[in-house]
């Protein structure tokens, strides 16, 4: 074996040199003209519909704004499928995108676990990473090269807790999916609700791959709180939750259902049916909003994808993310330097996004308006109707943990 070890060592030393050389030669010509962007989303598996929303938004943005790029600069999107919550695969895909395809910017980052894994890599690879819909607060702490264009669960849950307390509700029960964003949401809501004088009378974390929710919710019904804080990753699961709440009779009882925007995912509202009526959620975007910027956005969307399709907050996050990336490219005139890019992104803002004024702060988190919405029937369709605005909220978690 000693022989092979020596051989290996020798090869290792030479190998690095050669590979480095290759890397240089490969990078040099690419950077000037074509900017390669690696996008890791969920294109298959039960949650592919969520990925599709982001994908469509990105494609739409590229279609409408490619012309804004500096002359001679082209953008090439390289898409990869992480098949769902699958951090190890996501990390490997990111690694391959950087090493094989030499992408200069990474984006996508649909799931918190996946985004965490990718972020850890970017720290070393020095590749800017715009995570779009990962709601875990910790993602941006993984590396200085990460910014988010979506939201954090603390953002969409902490103010909700305050609001709930103000409604005079005393007892709350928290029901969340058992992964990082769920834990964040649970913590955020619990903090603000108890600070507001309420008490948490019970909490349960439901595994992501669960078939039968009734037993969990029966417990909630038995405890009979004033309000239930719910979080799930949206998509089909949101419907499954709502159906179960209906089966168990909570939706018709006097127990209030509230949560972040995910639990009344706009695409799923038709499947949820009447059971979703009256559910109050907090989120940064609803396609039903009457802001001019949003009306234009929805119009462009339905023009591209048909009247049946509505852009959800996933789409909005994708749109904003791509917007930030394009601005960064423009600002550097197509010559992407990681650190310069991050410097730019950390100061990036859009006063007029579909969801209202937004900006990215030094921590890489997004500061934006949050809207309280209620599910109502609007010309024959269920929609999340905004009824109150909380101006310019950053990530509360970062605030509380600043030391």
């Amino acid at each position: 074996m000693s022989i092979t070890k020596m051989v290996a060592a020798a090869l290792l030393r030479r190998g690095i040199v050669v590979a480095a050389a290759l890397m240089m030669s490969a990078l040099a010509p690419v950077g000037a003209q074509t900017i390669r962007i690696g996008m890791i989303l969920t294109y298959s598996g039960p949650d592919a519909a969520l990925g599709e929303q982001i994908d469509r938004a990105v494609n739409l943005f590229v279609k409408l704004h490619d012309s804004d790029l500096p002359p001679g600069v082209k953008v090439e999107l390289i898409k990869r499928d992480d098949t769902g919550i699958n951090p190890d695969l996501a990390k490997r895909l990111a690694q391959e995108l950087v090493l094989r395809d030499q992408v200069q910017i990474l984006t996508g980052g649909q799931w918190t676990p996946n985004a965490m894994a990718i972020a850890a890599l970017t720290k070393e690879a020095k590749v800017p990473f715009v995570t779009m819909t990962a709601g875990g607060s910790a993602v941006t702490l993984q590396s200085p090269y990460v910014v988010r264009s979506g939201w954090t669960l603390w953002q969409t849950s902490y103010p909700l807790g305050e609001w709930a307390a103000k409604q005079g509700w005393k007892n709350a029960y928290t029901v969340v999916s058992d992964f990082a964003p769920g834990h964040d949401g649970e913590a955020a809501f619990t903090k603000s609700f108890t600070e507001g004088g309420g008490t948490i009378v019970g909490s349960v974390r439901i595994p992501l791959k669960t078939s039968d929710y009734l037993p969990y919710f029966q417990k909630v019904k038995d405890v009979n709180p004033d309000v239930v804080y719910v979080f799930n990753p949206g998509g089909p699961q949101a419907t499954a939750f709502m159906k179960a709440f209906d089966d168990i009779g909570i939706t018709k009882s006097k127990i209030k259902l509230i949560g972040p925007q995910d639990i009344v995912y706009d695409d799923e509202l038709p499947n949820m049916g009447q059971s979703a009526l009256g559910v109050v959620t907090l989120g940064e975007y609803s396609p039903a909003a009457t802001r001019q910027a949003n009306i234009d956005f929805v119009a462009a969307w339905t023009k591209a994808y048909g009247a049946e399709s509505v852009p959800t907050f996933f789409a909005e996050a994708g749109w904003n993310g791509m917007h930030a990336i394009y601005d960064a490219i423009k600002a550097q005139n197509g010559k992407i330097d990681p650190d310069a890019t991050m410097k730019f992104l950390h100061a990036w803002s859009d006063p007029n996004s579909p969801g209202g004024p937004i900006r990215i702060d030094q921590a890489g988190d997004i500061v934006q308006n949050l809207y309280l919405r209620r599910v109502e029937e609007k010309n024959g369709r269920l929609a999340n109707i905004e009824f109150a605005t909380i101006e310019q909220v950053g990530d509360p978690w970062k605030v509380f943990n600043k030391k």
């Binding site: 039960p46 039968d212 037993p215 038995d222």
Partner: protein
């Protein structure tokens, strides 16, 4: 008290689905000694058939269920004649691989045909919300599950114990050679039994569509539950799996209510213990 009853009830409902899907597997495994990991495929197809017939063509729930059941039974029969029969008596490994291949193919085809997203089943209104039976509010859908399941099971048991077909199956399970020597055409019997088994699976898949969501991942996601029911219930009989399915349904449900922290750990530990204690299933006479 009401809580306890409700939980019991949920458990039974869950067990019913598991039983309907798995019982066919038990019979076919016992008959042909074929390790068929792909049994869940037929349940999934039953679900897809039902959902599609309802949502796209607008047929009512029960007829859709029946049609789907028949369609899948026929498909099962055909597959048995064309593929499965060639692998009886082959090594376990071959059978495992073959059925695994079948799973992958079905997953792919279903995804191409229906897309990756779970197919929501739009239940008729009489199956939505709650029904109150002497001040005990129960979900209508589960109630229907239990009622319907009981009916099917009663019919199945009658058929198994009282009809010639059932007698033949039992004979073939006990002693294949003997059965053949007394003039039972086992080959045709196998096909029939296989068709019946897949039909039942389809029925379970369709009925349970609101609990076990109908998506391409179905056969892989739930396979272990079906196999567990069969292994614990014992091969080639139809009462053992019933006990097993109820036991698993009840304990799993109880776990979720009383100690959600434990998840399904208990179930698998329980199954492991049972199989060590009774390698041939709980019904095995000692």
């Amino acid at each position: 008290m009401t809580t306890l009853i409700t939980i019991l009830f949920f458990g039974v409902a869950y067990g019913m689905i598991l039983y309907l899907i798995s019982v066919g597997l038990s019979v076919t495994m016992g008959l042909m000694g074929f390790v068929n990991l792909a049994h869940g495929v037929f349940a999934m197809l039953g679900g897809y058939a039902t959902v599609t017939l309802m949502n796209r063509i607008g047929i009512a729930f029960l007829p859709a269920l029946a049609i789907g059941c028949v369609l899948v039974a026929v498909l099962g029969f055909v597959l048995e004649r064309t593929l499965y029969r060639h692998l009886y008596g082959r090594s376990e490994l071959d059978q495992v691989l073959f059925s695994f291949g079948l799973i992958l193919v079905s997953v792919a085809l279903v995804r191409i045909a229906w897309g990756p997203v779970a197919q929501p089943i739009r239940l008729p209104d009489y199956l939505k919300g709650q029904v109150t039976i002497f001040d005990l509010a129960l979900p209508a859908y589960r109630l229907a599950l239990v009622g319907f399941g009981t009916a099917v099971i009663a019919g199945l048991w009658f058929a198994f114990d009282r009809t010639l077909f059932g007698a033949r199956i039992r004979a073939a399970v006990d002693n294949r050679a003997m059965a053949q020597s007394i003039g039972i055409n086992t080959s045709r019997l196998f096909a029939a039994a296989f068709g019946l088994g897949t039909g039942l699976a389809a029925l379970g898949g369709g009925l349970g569509a609101d609990v076990l969501a109908i998506a391409p991942g179905y056969p892989l996601q739930y396979i272990i539950y079906f196999l567990i029911v069969v292994a614990v219930g014992g091969l080639g009989n139809i009462k053992g799996p019933f006990v097993a399915a109820l036991a698993i349904g009840l304990s799993d449900t109880a776990c979720r209510y009383f100690l959600p922290e434990a998840g399904s750990i208990f179930i698998f530990a329980f199954v492991f213990a049972v199989l060590i204690w009774r390698p041939n299933g709980i019904m095995e006479r000692r």
